[in-house]
């Protein structure tokens, strides 16, 4: 009887785990045409192995990216041309940060950490859709790619049944 209870508890635990096991964005929604502080929550490593690098791809329409430095981690950015030109405080921006990477640190599987950047969501983004930031989590052993973006017309990455959905933020109309 007791072992059965234990089993049920374990199953419940296992079943509950996937919900918190993803890399997610802390702020679940944001208005277009405004700043957004993107906080990437990293709850665990890759199948038990410690995280040593986090790479985030900046989606098109997101500009003014300023990553927050982290003690013990090296910060790198990759810049490139945007697909379009964006207005940013009166200036025209046609290139900027496309990828941000924190590396050189070590985040064990037992610990939790957050990786932060400030961004500006241009009003070219469509309200009432989800904006995805694909993330590659590199570990001492193995890689987890949080890059699954559902096809148009389907629900969010997690609802879609993907094991590795890209973190997303729901876009609200310009306030």
């Amino acid at each position: 009887m007791r072992s059965q209870t234990l089993l049920v508890a374990m199953v419940a635990l296992l079943a509950a785990q996937p919900a918190i096991a993803h890399i997610t964005l802390e702020g679940k929604q944001a208005a277009v045409g405004s700043y957004y502080k993107a906080v990437f929550a990293v709850p665990h490593g890759c199948a038990g192995s410690a995280t040593i690098k986090i790479r985030v791809q900046i989606p098109e329409g997101v500009i003014g990216v300023k990553p927050m430095p982290k003690a013990g981690w090296t910060l790198d950015t990759v810049t490139g041309k945007y697909a379009a030109q964006y207005d940013y405080h009166g200036a025209k921006l046609s290139e900027g940060v496309k990828e941000v990477a924190w590396s050189g640190g070590k985040l064990t599987d037992q610990n939790y950490d957050e990786f932060v950047m400030q961004t500006f969501l241009t009003d070219t983004l469509k309200p009432n859709t989800t904006l995805y930031f694909p993330v590659v989590q590199e570990c001492e052993q193995g890689v987890s790619r949080w890059i699954d973006i559902p096809a148009d017309g389907q629900g969010g990455g997690h609802d879609h049944g993907s094991k590795t959905p890209a973190p997303g933020v729901k876009l609200l109309p310009k306030s």
Partner: protein, 520 residues
């Protein structure tokens, strides 16, 4: 003569009744033959048991209108891109490809969009097939009666006999060889018969392995014709020997059997079989003429031939047996397949032939030795032997139209093929053996337009939801062939399995395609 004509007519009928495909075999198609699909597919994928080169693919839509299609060969598959706006109903895709051994393979595939309409089955071109068969028969005549006859005159008869028949055979053989090439081209490109005058027909035929066979055959016959007028006895011996070797090589370089493995065995057997038959058949015309003229050399020549004939016939039988074993694979195939039926008919005639040969050797030849004027029975027997041999050659020429059971068996034991096609990509998945137990997966990744898809990684995920089998994930390894392989994946229970393939394009982007497949 009437007997021959009847036999020929029978053979023609037989040849028309057997289906038109020869060597490479279509082992699968997407959409499958006879299937009904809800929406018009963008492509039709034809899968063969070996790599093929497409020569012509046509589409007859449900309205009976021919439509243009784009074709592209991807290894063992031919991808046919269909035009947009196909009407509802049954569409016919006719294809024509060349297999590695040089045989053209033709066939049709019917699939229906929405509903099944009409039944526009294309008819095989009977006249063309009859001509191909006749050309092949003529070629055999030139090689066996012609070249064999010249060889006999030089080596056994040691004097010319039966010149008219031998020379005519060589001429017929040369015409047959050249006609075979042109007709092969016409068949290959699916042209009307008048297409034999086009350059394209000849050019496409020279690209097949049949070309090498025909070149060697033509060389053999020309050398034989020259050898007939050799200035010296020694020159005749050398030239006829070279011509005979060309005959053997001609058989060894192409055809059903030459491409069967083990090739060292099949090619050697074909070489021996060809030369042996040429030796035997070549002897008949000169012997008949010597007997008719009652030349005093007859008895010496007969004895000389008889002594050699025993080991030669043994070699023919042995090499023939080896080839039959390789090609047939089982006794059932003798009855179940067109190829096997022809072999049975051939063996019956061969037994009759051997009976006649034994009669000649054991009864008629000693009779002539006792009373020299009694040559009539021998003449009749030789004439009958000749007719039988022609009939056998007619049967053998029919093999041009039937795939051997070895090839058919390959098509029965084919891997399960799943074709997944979206805008983004086209994945072709082969699952071998496609049955319960360990299976090897081959993932052929292509872009939507069938160009190669460059993936950094590929993963295969399998599940069987109806039996509660949750996704099992396996990383695929890129093989030397450029495809992604996952070996020894257990599929423990039958059912409708779900498969998901993730192909990583860049670090941040992957393409995922899913489909179901049935495991029995």
């Amino acid at each position: 003569m009437r007997l021959v004509a009847n036999l020929a007519a029978l053979l023609v009928v037989l040849c028309l009744a057997t289906s038109a495909h020869a060597h490479a075999v279509l082992i699968g198609a997407e959409p499958a033959d006879g299937s009904v699909v809800a929406e018009a597919p963008r492509t039709v994928v034809l899968r063969f048991n070996e790599a093929v080169a497409p020569t012509a693919v046509s589409l007859l839509d449900a309205a009976g209108k021919p439509r243009d299609v784009a074709i592209r060969a991807v290894d063992q598959s031919v991808v046919v891109t269909l035009p947009a706006g196909l009407p509802q109903g049954t569409q016919v895709v006719s294809y024509r490809v060349v297999s590695q051994d040089g045989h053209p393979v033709a066939g049709s595939l019917l699939f229906s969009i929405g509903v099944v309409t009409g039944s526009a089955a294309p008819s095989a071109d009977g006249v063309l097939h009859t001509l191909i068969w006749l050309a092949r028969l003529g070629l055999y005549l030139g090689l066996f009666v012609g070249v064999g006859g010249v060889f006999f005159a030089a080596w056994i008869g040691q004097g010319p006999a039966g010149e008219r028949l031998i020379m005519w055979s060589l001429k017929i053989g040369l015409v047959g060889a050249i006609a075979s090439l042109g007709l092969q081209g016409v068949d290959l490109l699916n042209l009307p018969l008048s297409g034999i005058v086009t350059w394209a027909a000849w050019a496409s035929a020279t690209g097949t392995s049949l070309f090498a066979t025909l070149l060697l055959a033509i060389a053999a016959m020309l050398i034989a014709a020259i050898a007939w007028r050799s200035p010296s006895f020694g020159a005749a011996l050398t030239r006829t020997a070279i011509a005979m070797i060309c005959v053997g090589l001609s058989f060894a370089v192409s055809g059903h059997a030459a491409t069967a493995s083990p090739q060292w065995l099949t090619r050697t057997a074909l070489f021996i079989h060809g030369i042996g038959v040429a030796f035997w058949m070549g002897a008949l015309a000169p012997l008949a003429v010597l007997a008719w003229q009652r030349k005093e050399s007859l008895l010496r020549v007969l004895r000389h031939f008889s002594t050699l004939a025993v080991p030669v016939v043994a070699l023919i039988a042995l090499s023939g047996l080896a080839l039959a074993v390789v090609q047939l694979e089982s006794f059932h195939a003798l009855i179940d397949t067109g190829y096997g039926n022809i072999l049975v008919a051939k063996l019956v005639l061969v037994v009759l032939l051997l009976g006649l040969a034994a009669l000649n050797r054991l009864v008629f030849t000693p009779a002539i030795a006792r009373e020299f004027h009694r040559t009539r029975p021998l003449q009749r027997s030789i004439a009958l032997e000749f007719v039988l041999m022609i009939a056998i050659l007619g049967l053998v020429a029919l093999w041009r139209f039937t795939p051997p059971p070895r090839v058919l068996a390959m098509s029965a034991d084919v891997p399960l093929a799943v074709h997944i096609h979206t805008d983004a990509a086209m994945f072709q998945v082969l699952i071998a053996p496609g049955k319960v137990g360990p299976n090897d997966f081959v993932l052929q990744l292509m872009n939507g337009d069938a160009s190669p898809f460059a993936a950094k990684e590929a993963t295969l995920t399998l599940s069987l939801p109806e039996r509660g089998i949750e996704p099992m994930e396996r990383a695929a390894a890129r093989g030397a062939d450029g495809y992604w392989h996952v070996r020894k994946v257990p599929l423990p229970v039958p059912g409708r399995w779900h498969m998901q393939i993730d192909a990583l394009v860049t670090d941040f982007k992957k393409v995922t395609l899913e489909d179901d497949f049935e495991v029995r």
